[in-house]
């Protein structure tokens, strides 16, 4: 089958583009090299909707991040994704840094950030009593927010699929050829897909994918950032996203609440050669903790739940996003260097790419069946007693709690597996339901989740993986 559009890469950008295109009468295929959507930068980042004062005025980055910030709340609402508009603070410890804040304020105003202002020590103390007493002041951006980034990508993918997009997982585009009529053929080696138009949103690999189309000038540096996640006991440590003053490597180490009530700190920044290298390091740990303790001096690691690393797709040639047609073929659009605030910008990027597509392909008919709403999955933990009672009466699977730390029921796990973009591995269930995200990190529920996956998929439990590929949990039967 020939598709109108093929999108390469199902991160938050690719899935939101797929959703945007699903509003039109188009056949769209979304190709993802991993076993699930949201497996790259999307699943390991700060989970922040930035207010938009960082980007250089006039850049595409500035324009799209401001627009994305404004769009995010309604997108999250349509897609049933957690979003909390808690605001952010950049704290300053000395006069030089206070001066940096003034510059950021100026830049923010130029970019059109609303309600941005500098506050003094007293106000800062009132807003964030746990922040280092030596902080002199802060830049307060009330429009900043926190979201669940992988939740957004999963929801966008589900909504796109419900509206007719086809998702192919475990499809890595390794070869591209062009037929006489201009049809582009994308091949994984085992399978190929034909499309009239291609959108390359392959994240850290977008440069490699661009080369397949003869565009050799892009270079993406994988910039690793390590994070720490703390127990929900720490909830309330900070009420807003607390940044330190930015450096040339990025916006520095932040401390923020997550939409699920944990506390996240990170990232550091380290350029790495291996674009699959998401390993954490002792050095990174030390660096992140040391830097974070500048913001919160008494930060203890007793309630640390887990650490992880993510890779930013840093554009080696520019500080801006490159979103442009292939130099060889206007039917191909590359998205290169979508690093922070790429998550913030993602909904605006999707609109932007969609209009670039239509500039070449012409105006498209609307998909008459398009529904932008993806219902929020049931969360037993969030239901009132009466609602839960009714739900269990209808389906008793919601009465069996599988994950004790996060109170996740078997019913929710089954929902996650049977969803339009269902989980097929243990980590996929975890991202969709939070089963295994709590303080025991899946020690108790991991095997039960694997058992439910095996039952739902009709396979033996020893074929179930942690996250696709060869990440099997089990070997053969015992003697």
């Amino acid at each position: 089958m020939k598709y109108d559009v093929a999108i390469i890469g199902a991160g938050v950008v690719g899935t939101l583009i797929a959703r945007e295109l699903s509003a039109y009468d188009l056949s769209v295929v979304l190709l993802e090299k991993c076993n699930d959507v949201a497996m790259g930068t999307t699943k390991a980042n700060s989970a922040i909707v930035h207010a938009g004062f960082d980007a250089e005025p006039g850049t595409l980055k500035a324009k799209l991040s401001i627009k994305g910030c404004c769009m995010m709340e309604s997108v999250c609402e349509e897609l049933g994704v957690p979003y909390k508009n808690i605001g952010s603070l950049v704290i300053a410890f000395n006069d030089t840094q206070m001066h940096t804040l003034t510059n950021l304020l100026l830049r923010g105003n130029q970019n059109g950030v609303q309600d941005l202002r500098i506050i003094g020590q007293d106000k800062l103390r009132e807003l964030e009593p746990n922040v280092n007493v030596n902080a002199k002041g802060a830049l307060w951006a009330p429009t900043a927010a926190i979201i669940c980034p992988y939740g957004l990508a999963i929801a966008a993918a589900e909504n796109a699929v419900t509206n007719g997009v086809e998702l192919k997982r475990n499809f890595e585009v390794k070869n591209v050829s062009t037929e006489d009529d201009g049809t582009l053929v994308l091949s994984s080696g085992q399978e190929s897909v034909s499309a009239s138009y291609v959108i390359n949103s392959a994240g850290v690999y977008a440069d490699k994918v661009a080369k397949l189309f003869g565009d050799n000038d892009y270079k993406i540096i994988a910039r690793k950032g390590e994070y720490f996640l703390f127990d929900k006991k720490m909830d309330g440590l900070v009420k807003r996203v607390v940044f330190q003053c930015p450096t040339k490597m990025g916006k520095g180490v932040l401390i923020a609440p997550t939409t699920h009530g944990n506390v996240i700190i990170g990232p550091n920044a380290e350029d790495v050669d291996d674009k699959d290298n998401c390993a954490t390091s002792a050095k990174g740990t030390e660096e992140v903790l040391k830097t974070a303790r500048r913001s919160i001096t008494k930060l203890s690691t007793v309630d640390l739940i887990t650490s992880f690393a993510g890779l930013r797709a840093h554009n080696a040639n520019s500080n801006d996003f490159f979103i442009e047609y292939s130099k060889t073929n206007k039917r191909v659009i590359h998205l290169v260097g979508i690093e922070s605030p790429g998550l913030t910008a993602a909904p605006a990027i999707a609109k932007y790419v969609c209009s670039m597509f239509m500039d070449v392909a012409g105006k498209q008919k609307k998909n008459r069946n398009y529904n932008p709403v993806r219902p929020e999955p049931v969360r037993v933990k969030e239901l009132a007693d009466e609602q839960l009672r009714e739900l269990i009466e209808k389906d008793s699977a919601y009465g069996r709690i599988v994950c004790r730390c996060e109170t996740v029921s078997e019913g929710e796990i089954i929902d996650a597996i049977r969803a339009p973009v269902g989980a097929t591995d243990v980590d996929g269930v975890k991202r969709r339901t939070r089963s295994g995200m709590g303080r025991c990190q899946g020690g108790f529920c991991g095997s039960k989740v694997a058992e439910i996956l095996a039952r739902e998929m009709g396979v033996d439990i020893n074929t179930i993986t942690k996250s696709g590929g060869n990440s099997n949990l089990l070997y053969d039967r015992t003697k």
């Binding site: 720490f228 992880f308 009672r389 009465g399 990190q441 039967r477």
Partner: protein
């Protein structure tokens, strides 16, 4: 509709069952046990090795056999049992809310509550081991469930970090199942496990125990491909130059147990920061009236036999509370110093009608040590011990006659001297 019971026991493992049975013996008739697993027995069900019951029954039993010594009497005693039932909340007026498939949401009003939720294993994240997030890193208890309950091998080439008892037991278990257990690494200069387990699970199988050694990095893209181990210095920091790469497909963790006190915390019960469990009296009553705690939710035990002993005290205490057989309390507090990390119970009632055993744990290994029980700098008791280790719980008994001589002002101090 709210159901009424005299006693609600949260957890149907060894602690919950022993406590419920003892309360029944003491005359409490309306008792319900709420258990989250599909059957009674708790973690004992997956402990198919022997070594249970040597102290309490003078017999060597397997985990399921030990559990059956309690689950069978529970089933014939008229105690109500609800399995596959998770307690999600306990209110300040002792209403227990639980959820399961058949009853949906259950509200149970109790005169007394016994907390017996057990403990959980510390996961990788709490240790912050660097490296990749691959499959094949698991706690020893999770591995034990895969092998003993589900009948699958979670690994073939195995490195175990932590020489706690579950790690030692799993070293032997995996070896018997044909896996190659390459080594057990222990951060401390001594093992946290029972001596008998070191002999029977490691030495008998020539599995090396590497003391003062830890895993500093996990390698692999999808499944574990190897780990880097390193020696550690006195401050438990890895020593540069001692790193060694060990190829393996599995890293098993036996790095400590944490009492599961989420419910206790949400009820506002005072928690001892050292044990991670509630502060209790000799009857194992917590700081919330009518709420008792026993077993690994109170403090981590090395032997289930001691859990049984402790849980019977909690069962009896709850029964006395329900039946109104309480004496006027005159509490003295207990404290561990000079190498004694903690003492259970934290408070004892001088009007208690029996001898009282103080259980305690030391912070390091002592040889030819003397244990003292003191009050106001006066030595009340002293006991000689050839060896004290952090892995083995110790006790000292205060006779009723001695108890009667004490006054409420006397703080009881347990200390160790070499």
């Amino acid at each position: 509709m709210t159901q009424l019971y005299d006693l609600v026991v949260v957890g149907g493992g060894p602690a919950g069952m022993a406590a419920a049975l003892r309360a029944k013996e003491c005359g409490v008739n309306s008792i319900i046990i709420l258990e989250r697993a599909p059957s009674l027995g708790g973690i004992l069900e997956q402990c198919i090795h022997t070594g249970f019951g040597l102290h309490y029954f003078n017999e060597e039993l397997s985990g399921p056999e030990y559990a059956a010594r309690f689950s069978l009497p529970v089933e014939s005693s008229g105690i109500t049992v609800k399995t596959d039932t998770m307690v999600i909340n306990i209110s300040s007026d002792n209403i227990v809310t639980a959820v399961n498939k058949t009853d949906g949401l259950l509200d149970i009003s109790a005169k007394a509550i016994i907390l017996a939720m057990g403990c959980r294993e510390r996961p990788r994240g709490a240790l912050n081991i660097a490296g990749t997030r691959v499959a094949g890193v698991m706690t020893a208890g999770t591995a034990q469930e895969y092998v003993n309950i589900r009948g699958y091998m979670p690994g073939k080439e195995i490195v175990i970090l932590g020489s706690g008892d579950i790690g030692l037991i799993m070293a032997r278990r995996m070896t018997l199942e044909g896996a190659n257990v390459k080594m057990v690494c222990e951060l401390m200069p001594y093992s946290g496990g029972l001596t008998r387990n070191i002999v029977q699970c490691l030495e008998d199988f020539d599995i090396p125990l590497k003391l003062s050694c830890t895993v500093i990095e996990v390698h692999g893209k999808e499944r574990v491909e190897g780990v880097t181990i390193a020696k550690v210095d006195r401050n438990r920091r890895p020593i540069k130059g001692t790193e060694e790469y060990v190829p393996c497909d599995t890293l098993m963790l036996s790095v400590g147990l944490i009492p599961e006190n989420e419910l206790s915390n949400s009820m506002g019960i005072e928690i001892d920061p050292v044990t991670g469990g509630p502060v209790v009296t000799e009857s194992r009553e917590t700081t919330q009236k009518g709420v008792f705690a026993c077993g690994n939710v109170l403090h981590v035990h090395d032997l289930v036999d001691y859990v049984t002993v402790e849980s019977r005290l909690a069962g009896e205490g709850a029964a006395n509370y329900i039946l109104g057989n309480t004496t006027e309390p005159a509490f003295v507090t207990t404290k561990g110093i000079d190498g004694v990390r903690y003492v259970i119970p934290h408070k004892i009632n001088l009007n208690y009608d029996d001898d009282i055993k103080l259980f305690f744990r030391v912070g390091q290994v002592y040889k030819n040590a003397k244990v003292f029980l003191e009050s106001n700098d006066e030595i009340l008791l002293s006991r000689r011990r050839p060896k004290l280790t952090p892995g083995e719980m110790e006790d000292i008994t205060i006779k009723k006659e001695l108890l009667e001589q004490l006054s409420v002002k006397s703080e009881l101090v347990v200390r160790v001297e070499v």
